[in-house]
Amino acid sequence: MRVILESKVRAKPNLPIEAEAIIPRNFLKGTDLLVYEGNKERTLSELFWIFVEGTAVSPENIEVILKGDTSRIKRVGEYMDTGSIVIEGDIGMHCGNFMSGGTIEIRGNADSWLGREMRGGTILCRGNASHYCATGYRGEKKGMQGGKVEVFGSTGDFCAEYLAGGTVHIHGSAGDFPGVEMRGGELIIEGDATRPCGNMKSGSCVILGTVHDMLPTFEKTRQRVLPEWKITADVYKGDVANRGKGTLCVRS
Amino acid sequence: MSSSLVWYIREFARAEWIKKFLFAKTAPLVTPTHFRGFPEPTGKTCTHALFCMMACPAPGAIEVVHAGDGWMPKIHKGHCIRCGLCVEVCPNGVLKSGRIRETMGREGTSLLFSFRIAIDKDLCTGCGNCCTACPVNKQADAQMGAGGHSSNDDVIMRVQEGDIVVIHEDKCTGCKTCEVSCPNGAIRIARILEGYQQPVQEGLQ
């Protein structure tokens, strides 16, 4: 089954929409869902043109497609466990929060907190992702714990903060402090990064581009060839400010 | 080269020269009476007034240090220029040097110390660092020393209407703690040393 949601033109286009209801499983019972626009509750049909093609008996066969201006829609795919969502344009904050299964594909850019506290599943972002990509919540000890986030563009600051499990793969560059407070999982940045892995406890990070402002508290141990990336890298252990035992590989 | 060396040895090995070198007599060194010597203790009790330190023009020449239960000035001879100001200024006659004390006693002269506290109101932010840090304030009003609230009028200065106001300039001992603690350089202590003559004072005898 395929559900196409095309956003309507709104009087106040900057108002955020909170649409955690948009997950494939919910469309099994119809499209009568509630979302918030600002501080008002709205039905899905007040904000979207809804087209449904085909039928489905189980949620894993449901594909949700978002079209139009979706850059202010938050929480799409929150707690999603199966099925797939395709966003043709940009998407607002908190896309794929707590996601545990299924696939989200974003053809445009993603706003902050993409895949926050994710547990499983896959997020593909064809454009750039903003700050706090694949991270956790304020005060919480663990961020993303499983699954995969792949960003084909670049990300903002604090990418993969508190990463505890799963894989984060950035094809472009990451901003300031990628992998800060990392305690597990894998972070791959093909482009450049600034001050990576501050205060990391555990986990591993590979940076293929240039590292700016490398922190003084990483201990260089040896050089290693990384066959999957066809490079030789310096391997650092750290963060020693923090009894850390993480691995940071930077192209030699 | 070698010939000149031999010449030298010959020249200085002459008995006449050696004799002159060893036995020649010159007049003994005597300190002239008008000369001011290094200050020495007179045995009187130092009250830690620190006038000596403040009057001394040579940096690091005199220091008042702990001596047993009390205090005593200590002269650092390499720095002392023997001007004798410390002897003249001491209110308790702790130091002497040459004839300074006799002369002062005979002629009834002495040195008078006072301080001027100058506050630049444009620079002063009224932070009160100086008032709290000032050791005289701390003595006069423990509350002032513990956080800047004055409970009496015995303090040298306090904050009033956003600026420092000096109440008892006469109490200033010139320690300059306030200068050091002022972040803006808004406070300056000027030392005023005046000589004057008056009938013989008993303390100076």
Binding site: Y137, G139, E140 | A142, Q143, A146, G147, H149
Partner: protein
């Protein structure tokens, strides 16, 4: 004039020797009376369990450190969020809920009176501000004296009268209720990062020992005729082998008051550990309870822990730092000048941890081994051992051996070897529970004559009606029903008004704050003591005139005046 007629109530009121009688209760203007007119609102209790309003004699719900617990835990605020509904404000949080969250949930459980366990006098104003935002319970605050310089000076001079005078002045300034000692002396030592290891060790710089502080304060407390006794959090909390310190402390408690205990020892579970390290820690509940059983002058509370996430917060700063060094999670510390310390860290009690399982068992052992339920009250030291919403589960555990056995089966295997819980057959009855959550608490706090903890004529009409039929429920087998029943009252009546029905708050609260104005002879008044004033103005960072809590902070303050001593 408001009147309520509660009929068909199955009343357990231990202080009036009523145990399960079906009777009616008449309420007029907030008090229980003989009878009411026929215009009274009628509540049919349908033979359900009806108890005096619940009392919590040691909880942390308001004040600096509780609020700091909230401040530093946005992650907890995601749990327990409710929207505004009728008279109810928005709430957030599970183990450190907002003030309204605390108040509503306590109310839903039938609790109408709370004692905030620790209030630093310097920050008392904060506690009282939060009290007014905790609207459905009458509040009291124990005032911290453990590291109070003026107290330690008076103790050093062995001057009980002066100690009493300092206590009286401070209680009045803080609008406090009773004396709280948290790790006495240890919090002062923590000012320089140290702790004390026993009750006979000298407090650095002050030349007094915790034992001296405790004994002098007990005498001062009785001299002042305060309603509550000294409320003590013993030294060495949470250290393996600390039961000896606890026993030593119990040994120095005289019996000074015929009406109530002389010492209230709080969260004793945390003070009943044998062994020497975390590896060989074991229960010493038997030793502790045998000491308490032979000393009527001591009342303790359980300090039960329950499994799950929570937040520990106490004035015992050094203990929290030690705990932090084990957990490596976030740690807050807040020492209060001249008075006390405090620390806050989040913890998770896990069934996988042998230590946590043993702690869990010790709390229950204490309650089951104490012969007189008036001497062991039901508490979790909320939220230290567990948030108070776990009380119903604890009641279930105490009433059902089967429930305990089922739980024990899921615990770390060491629990059975190092505690005797599994061997205890005792199952508490409804009356015991009523004592441990009402009558005993009121008696220990000295508020029975304020009309608390009982349902006699003239008592405050604080009543909880639970959806439990004691005649048909067998708590030993149907413990689930007991737990559910205690989670939500059918009616909670506070001072003659129905405030909560089936868990929903239906009116705006109007709590009162009890505080003690202890009288001292004219010549002992600290506000006239020049030395005291001088010291205050020098070493505190607020002026003495700005220190006392103004009356405006207690819009419904209830002042309890004591008799002046000679």
């Amino acid at each position: 004039m408001t009147e309520i007629w509660v009929k068909n109530a199955c009343v357990i009121d231990p202080l009036n020797h009523i145990n399960g009688e079906i009777m009616d209760i008449a309420i007029r203007d907030g008090r229980i009376v003989e009878s009411v007119s026929d215009r009274a609102d009628v509540i049919d209790a349908q033979r359900c369990l009806t108890l005096p309003g619940g009392i919590d004699s040691h909880t942390h719900v308001s004040g600096t450190k509780v609020n700091f617990g909230r401040y530093m835990s946005p992650e907890d605020m995601r749990a327990g969020r409710t929207k505004r509904k009728g008279k109810m404000h928005v709430t957030s949080g599970y183990y450190v809920p907002t003030t309204f969250g605390n108040s509503y949930r306590y109310s839903a459980m039938g609790y109408t009176t709370l004692l905030e366990g620790a209030m630093a006098p310097l920050e008392a104003r904060h506690t009282h501000e939060e009290f007014t935002a905790t609207p459905h319970q009458d509040m009291m605050a124990n005032t911290l004296f453990d590291g109070n310089w003026a107290v330690m000076d008076a103790v050093r001079e062995k001057d009980v009268r002066k100690t009493a005078a300092v206590v009286a002045w401070t209680l009045k300034a803080a609008r406090g209720y009773g004396i709280k000692l948290t790790n006495p002396g240890g919090t002062e030592a923590w000012g320089f990062g140290e702790d004390l290891t026993g009750i006979h060790e000298m407090v650095p710089h002050f030349a007094v020992t915790p034992a001296e502080i405790i004994t002098t304060m007990m005498r001062a407390n009785e001299l002042l005729k305060l309603p509550h006794s000294v409320h003590l959090h013993c030294n060495n909390l949470g250290k393996p082998g600390n039961y000896q310190t606890t026993l030593e402390t119990f040994d120095i408690v005289p019996d000074l008051n015929p009406d109530r205990q002389t010492l209230y020892a709080t969260h004793v579970q945390f003070h009943a550990y044998g062994g020497g390290t975390w590896k060989n820690i074991c229960s010493k509940a038997e030793e502790i309870t045998s000491s308490v059983n032979s000393r009527p002058q001591i009342v303790m509370d359980m300090g039960q822990i329950m499994f799950g996430r929570t937040m520990t917060m106490t004035a015992d700063g050094p203990m929290e730092f030690n705990l932090h060094c084990l957990h490596h999670n976030k740690w807050s510390n807040h020492d209060v000048e001249l008075e006390t310390g405090s620390g806050i860290i989040p913890v998770t009690y896990s069934k996988k941890s042998a230590v946590n399982c043993i702690m869990w068992a010790i709390g229950l052992e204490l309650a089951l081994l104490t012969k007189n339920p008036y001497q062991c009250l039901l508490e979790t030291d909320n939220p230290n051992g567990a948030p108070f919403v776990k009380y119903p589960e604890i009641i279930g555990l105490l009433m059902s051996k089967r429930y305990r056995d089922e739980e024990c089966a899921t615990l770390h295997p060491e629990t059975e070897k190092r505690t005797s819980l599994c061997a205890l057959e005792r199952e508490l009855n409804w009356h015991d529970i009523a004592v441990m959550t009402r009558a005993g608490q009121a008696k220990a706090l000295g508020i029975v004559n304020q009309g608390k903890g009982h349902l006699g004529i003239g008592a405050e009409a604080d009543i909880a009606i639970y959806p439990i039929r004691t005649d048909s429920v067998d708590p030993a087998r149907e413990y689930r029903k007991v737990v559910e029943g205690f989670q939500k009252t059918r009616y909670t009546i506070k001072r003659g008004r129905v405030v909560s029905r089936d868990g929903d708050i239906i009116v705006d609260g109007a709590n009162a704050t009890f505080w003690v104005d202890a009288m001292v002879p004219e010549d002992l008044k600290m506000e006239n003591d020049p030395e005291f004033i001088k010291r205050f103005e020098q070493f505190y960072t607020v002026r003495m005139s700005n220190y006392p809590v103004q009356d405006v902070y207690l819009p419904r303050g209830r002042r309890i005046e004591t008799e002046v001593f000679t």
